[in-house]
Amino acid sequence: MVQSLKTDEILVNMGPQHPSTHGVLRCLLKTDGEWVREVWPYIGYLHRCKEKIAEKVSYIQFMPYTDRLDYLASANNNLGWAMAVERLTSIEVPERAVWLRVLAAELNRIASHLLSYGTFGMEAGAFTPFFYGFRERETIVSIFDQLCGARLTYHYARIGGVMRDLSPETAKAIRRFLDEMDRRWVEYNTLLSDNEIFVRRTANVGVIPADLAIAYGLTGPVLRGSGVAHDIRKAAPYACYPKLDFKVCVGEGLKGTVGDCWDRYWVRMLEIRESVKICRQILDGLPEGPYQAKVPRILKVLANEAYVRTEAPRGELGFYIISDGTDKPWRCRIRAPSFCNLSILNRIARNCLVADVIMILGSIDVVMGEVDR
């Protein structure tokens, strides 16, 4: 009887306008009823050819453009670009500026993970975590208001330093926020992380084994969720990270298999706590001194090339710059973590349910501004 029923596989377009494709990702699903046989992601709807723009503007001018790569973590992008250019030019960055940049980057990491918490909850069907995540993110955004005068595109780190010094009031506001965050973190877990429905939705779904994750070049929480303790802040320490005490959080398969959606989610939640710890240490140990080095107004870089990688909230953010002696790069290549992370979607989202595809996509946590560049 069941065999005699004629069923068809249908192709469904999920996106580019869809509530949970994180902007303008388009996924083509081959579905058999509720089962998804295969997923093909189509990207490029937000493509601005940043790498071409980089060739047309100077090193200093490209800094605000990096804000718009992963627009949820622009402080991290600024840090990466500033470090890459400094590496080529051997500009000595004052110690205080280094610490301030890391402070901004870690605050931004918390903000980015909070947003990820919210949207992931939303994709699971719970609306309230979204608002709680945004509530705390709003506090961070207000701190950035005071720190650099912008709410999303911070442009805080500059080549050779940072834009502005940290005022005592802002430092106090950050401390207040960090204490608040500790309390809220517990609440988040009660509301979402430990909720049995949520656990059942995410545990054992979209499992990425460690070797597959490495082969696909996944980085960040997606790789660490698979149990690989790889964090560039530890593996190839940069800035002031060697002086800071923090842990690399990895997925342990607490609720299911190692490398499932819940693990990736949980790594992000743990990283929020680690970042809070880092921020406290930075506020305690912030060295005095100038915050901006002497940088010529027209910054010419001799022919050279460097690949500088930093740990952005979504993974390894790399800037590969080839300079040619002018004030503009000859070629700038951006290794966007989301781009690499998204490439595994087709591989892991097979023979799962429609709802699982959403959860897998949410747990990879892509930002299309970065995928499409």
């Binding site: 469904v12 069907g125 509530r135 349910l353």
Partner: protein, 374 residues
Amino acid sequence: MPGTLTDIINYVIQTALGVVGLDYARVPEMLRIGAAMLIACGAMLGYVAVVALFFGWAERRVAGRIQARQGPNIVGPFGLLQLIADAIKILVKEDIIPQTAHRFLFRLAPILVFMGAFAPFVVLPFSETLVVSNLSLGVYYALSFAALEVVGVIMAGWASNNKWSLYGGMRLAAQMMSYEIPMGLAVLTVAVLSGHLNLRTIVLDQQGYWIFSWNVFRGFPWAFLAMFVFYLAGLAGSKRTPFDLPEAESEIVAGYHTEYSGMRFVIFYLSEYATMYVVSALTAVLFLGGWHGPIPHVLAWDGQVHWEAGPVLSALIGMVNMIGKSFFLMFVMLWFRWTYPRVRVDQIVYLCMKVLVPLGIICLMGASAWALVW
């Protein structure tokens, strides 16, 4: 004493006509019943609209406060008139039917859905006297009409000619069909305990010693468990979180009403709240003593009636109790919605077949044993 709402309406009409010197008894009986029914249904329709508007507001307000924001608070006191403003806005909106949609079925679907949601109101008792039609198979009637909604939703999903709509429709069909089983089992538990299928009689049976004569405590633990089975199954039947798969926004956009706009969308919206109310009210009637309040208006602590409120006062108290209970249960639905994530399509069937149905059977068997013992 008049039996039902229609009787009351007839009585009122008769008295009113009597004042001007007309004899209402001369009008054929069929006409009299018809007129009374029509008026009663009109009243119910108004009530449904008010409930839906109120809960449309309450949902947003509750959601707002739970999510640490304000919720509607500009239009009217506490934003109470917000939904009326929205209704006016929606009424003037363009009514769009997709070009590739099946026009007739597309138009018919919301009506069917609303019929399914509205029909059970006819048998919901608000007090001993305030019930539109005192059917002897009241529960059965309510449950069977709820199934009409499935037809409407599948129709909407199919006629929209949109793959997401179709997904929504099929999901709802699977969900409602399976959840009618535990719902039926929970109802049967009550039927066994009280021996009736008439909602009014079921409530009358629960009269007595404070709240301990309510089914939920009288048939403890079976009816207590059955209440959860019924409420959860009802939650699934009214497509509320955590069972809102047919309109899961993050997965299938808006499910079966993706393509609907304007007035037709409002009808879907209205029927969702109507279904929620029906489930809440049925839970109150079947398990929570219906119109009997925690402070009884019929005092009978030793089996003998010591004090009884007059018919009008009694009806009023009963109505307040009944609406209060239903509204509380509806609030719980809102509260659930803004707390829980959504379950997956296999889990919803798992929950039904492996949790609620066995539990329902256990309840039924236990209640039967109790009925045999006592």
